[in-house]
Structure formats: structure tokens, C-alpha cells
């Protein structure tokens, strides 16, 4: 089973600046945070937003849209399935760890 993380332009700049590429699990203040991901690859920004209720379709208010899709390797990571996203169509998972990045895909607008 493959897993995918949707990330911002800024997060992408940090990830590609340091090898090996991993999804960071600390916030700006240095506290551990959960990393959210899913099990489906979506090519377009608008499809990802509606499937996962993120970006401009976030029900609590619009946020920046995802810009990159990372296929991630969860070897050595613990993770939790939270079920289908409320209002969306795909499953949401979290991990407290730092998954490795296998491949990076630039997302298509819209």
C-alpha cells in the first residue's frame, strides 16, 4: 500500500534543502506535531482539496492550497488511521514520526 503527503511550497523548500528527504515532525517552536497523510495519490490541487477538505476547502476557513505530493515510506513509523475525512472522500492518517520521501510530484492547477 502506498501513502502520500500533500505539502506546501515552504515545507517543500525545507525538505529538498536537506538529505535524506524526510517529512519534518516538529513545528516552528520545536514541539512535536502529528504529520497528516493519506493513501491515495491525487494529481490536481482542486481534487486534493475536495477529497481531503484542505486548502481553500478547509471547513474552518481557507488556507494555502497544497503544492506538492510526496510518496512516503512509513518503515519504522507508527501511524493511525482516522477514517474518511469529514466532508471529503479519502482516508486521513497521522504519524508522530518523520516518514522518508520516496518521490516528489508537483501538483497540477487547478
Amino acid at each position: 500500500m502506498a501513502f502520500f503527503r500533500y505539502g506546501s511550497v515552504l515545507e517543500h523548500m525545507m525538505i529538498v534543502a536537506s538529505a535524506p528527504f524526510r517529512i519534518p515532525n516538529v513545528d516552528r517552536a520545536g514541539k512535536l506535531k502529528l504529520v497528516y497523510f493519506t493513501d491515495v495519490q491525487i494529481a490536481s490541487v482542486s481534487a486534493a482539496e475536495s477529497a481531503l477538505m484542505i486548502g481553500t476547502l478547509n471547513p474552518s476557513g481557507a488556507t494555502h492550497p497544497p503544492a506538492y505530493c510526496y510518496e512516503i515510506d512509513l518503515t519504522g513509523c507508527t501511524y493511525t488511521l482516522h477514517g474518511i475525512v469529514a466532508g471529503g472522500t479519502e482516508a486521513e492518517y497521522t504519524t508522530p514520526d518523520q516518514p522518508f520521501v520516496i518521490t516528489i510530484h508537483s501538483m497540477v492547477l487547478p
Partner: protein, 166 residues
């Protein structure tokens, strides 16, 4: 984005009196996804620090821009914000983690100009003062559109546990 946060003042004390030059962290508690954490500055010579709601809101905006899928927005209408702020004086290990995070993120996201120097000064102050405990109290909170509860969190030490990392 309208601010749901209050302005307030933090007073930080050790077992011996006012704690000056100590970094203060505010946790913005969320009902969904991750909590936000904001490092809001150092206490002054009297152990006090004024916390501006705009600083908390700026942290929310910047974190959302960086990790849009990991956080829920905070505004005056959604229920994602739990209407609770937790406030505590940072420990030595938290300051070390914050310095590492700054080194990780500062090239792609903005921090206040004195952010890193404040953390370094706070680290030095904690080691010099070696308090047996650090407690905070809250005052001067203004009203907000929806009630917000601020929980002061006391920190038991020894603060020098991570001194070898200095």
C-alpha cells in the same frame, strides 16, 4: 482573520521571586489537528511579559502557510479552536528544541528579529538562575468575542538536567 485571542500579561516567578529573562510559550489548544505553539518573548526585570493577541494570530497564520494540512484555521466562528490557551515558562530542553526548529525553518519562514537571541539569552538565564520551580500567573486579560480560558502551567525542574548541551 479576526482574532479570537485576548491580550494578557504573564507574571513568572521562581521559588525565590520574580523570574526575569525567561522565555514564555503559549499553546493554542485545538479540537482538531495539531495545537499551535507560540514563543512570545522574554519576561522583563519584574518577571512580567505582555502578550499581544496579534502575535498569537501571526503564529497561526505562519504555521498554516507552512503546514496547511496539519492545522485547522482559527477564527471567530469555527469550533476548531478549543477556546483554551496554556501558558508556561520554557524549560532548558524546550529551548534547545526551539533553537533546533529555528535552524530548520528560518530560511523558509519568518521569525521576529530577536527570536534566536532571546532563546539563547533565556537558556543562559535558566542555567544561571537554576530555579527549583517556575510558575506563571495571568492578569490583565481583555474580553474576546467568545470566552477564552487561559491556563497557567507550572514547571517543576531541575533546569540543569540538559546543561551538558549548552
Amino acid at each position: 482573520m479576526t482574532t479570537p485571542f485576548p491580550n494578557f500579561e504573564v507574571m513568572c516567578e521562581t521559588d525565590e521571586g520574580a523570574a526575569s529573562g525567561i522565555p514564555i510559550m503559549v499553546t493554542i489548544k485545538m479540537n482538531q489537528r495539531n495545537d499551535y505553539h507560540a514563543i512570545v518573548g522574554l519576561t522583563d526585570d519584574d518577571g512580567k511579559l505582555a502578550v499581544d493577541a496579534d502575535v498569537l494570530l501571526a503564529e497561526v497564520k505562519t504555521s498554516l502557510e507552512l503546514f496547511p494540512g496539519d492545522y485547522m484555521p482559527v477564527d471567530g466562528t469555527s469550533t476548531a479552536f478549543a477556546q483554551v490557551l496554556e501558558v508556561h515558562a520554557m524549560t532548558v530542553s524546550e529551548i534547545e528544541a526551539a533553537l533546533h526548529a529555528y535552524d530548520l525553518w528560518h530560511t523558509v519562514t519568518s521569525y521576529p528579529p530577536d527570536y534566536r537571541s532571546n532563546l539563547e539569552e533565556g537558556f543562559k538565564n535558566l542555567l544561571q538562575q537554576s530555579p527549583r520551580s517556575l510558575s506563571v500567573s495571568i492578569s490583565g486579560m481583555n474580553s474576546t468575542p467568545k470566552p477564552v480560558r487561559i491556563k497557567p502551567i507550572s514547571i517543576p525542574f531541575p533546569v540543569t538536567a540538559a546543561a551538558h548541551c549548552a
